[in-house]
Amino acid sequence: MRSEMLSSILSDLNGSSADIEASAVLSTDGLMIASMLPSGMDEDRVGAMSAAMLSLGDRTSEELARGALEQVLIKGDHGYILMTHAGKDAVITVLAKPNARLGLIFLDVRRAAENIAKII
């Protein structure tokens, strides 16, 4: 049931913008909870790397006096990776296209994170 609800949230999120290519929910320990990832992308790797990045983001934001972490954004040649907390025990990771309109994606991801936090 919970898994279906999480998948539904991710499905809605991916459908909310053509710029979003994939998304996943994982535990802060890096274990995958639900995902809508491209085939060939390893879930365990995505989970572990996302949780590690968010953990490092938490520490960096604290260390550099930027307050509580809202999100971690990475940009590569082939697009964006956006990670944010979904409650205190989960992380949502979103992959977006290189020319994505980030403002809208930030809003959609924040809304999805709030919904996920209610379920987890």
């Binding site: 802060t28 320990d29 890096g30 274990l31 390893d42 365990d44 790797r45 989970g47 572990a48 790397m49 949780a51 590690a52 953990s55 490092l56 938490d58 520490r59």
Partner: protein
């Protein structure tokens, strides 16, 4: 960490055979009276080394006792898995107090040299026994050094990882999951 395997590995590598272990036990009573003087000489030697003094200040007497206990144990105790475990623990403590690994190498070299003097003095008139004892002691110190080096390596990696995780905020569980994810990748 499989200490049984490590102990066997170090003995094999240093050619510390059962015959040599038995010989070491046999000559133990002859050597024991000389060991306190060797410990004294060792600390006198250390106190003349500036970089070593910082680890000794205010602790020389207790360190001497610990050192003599270890040195004596080489000739009185079985070099079994418990011995290896104890030495491994000592290595971990050394790393915790940030005693440089090269100190162990220097110490073993110094002690080995001093024991050669004693052995030649005791058995110099029996060239066959002298050779056997020197070879046994060489294996014995090599074995101790190798055990300590392995302990240092593992303890240093563990300590550095703990420091890294502490700085980054990455939990041990997350780190384990990362390792599992990449181990799986490596094997598929």
């Amino acid at each position: 960490m499989d200490l049984i395997k490590i102990n066997r590995y170090c003995k094999q590598f240093c050619d510390l055979t059962l015959e040599k272990e038995q010989l070491i036990q046999t000559i133990g009573p002859d050597l024991l009276p000389y060991l306190p003087a060797i410990t004294e000489a060792f600390y006198t030697h250390l106190l003349a080394i500036d970089d070593a003094v910082v680890f000794l200040e205010g602790r020389v007497d207790s360190l001497k006792k610990t050192h003599l206990d270890w040195l004596s144990s080489l000739f009185t105790k079985n070099l079994d898995d418990d011995f290896a475990a104890h030495l491994y623990h000592v290595g971990a403590v050394h790393v915790r107090v940030e005693l440089p690994a090269d100190f162990v190498t220097g110490a073993i070299t110094f002690l080995h040299q001093k024991l050669i003097h004693v052995v030649v003095y005791l058995y110099g008139n029996d060239s066959v026994k002298l050779l056997n004892v020197l070879q046994a002691i060489n294996s014995l110190f090599g074995y101790n050094l190798q055990l300590m080096q392995l302990s240092y390596q593992q303890s240093m990696v563990t300590a550095e990882l703990a420091r890294f995780l502490d700085i980054t905020g990455i939990s041990h569980k997350l780190f384990s999951n990362m390792v599992a994810a990449y181990d799986k990748q490596a094997t598929t």
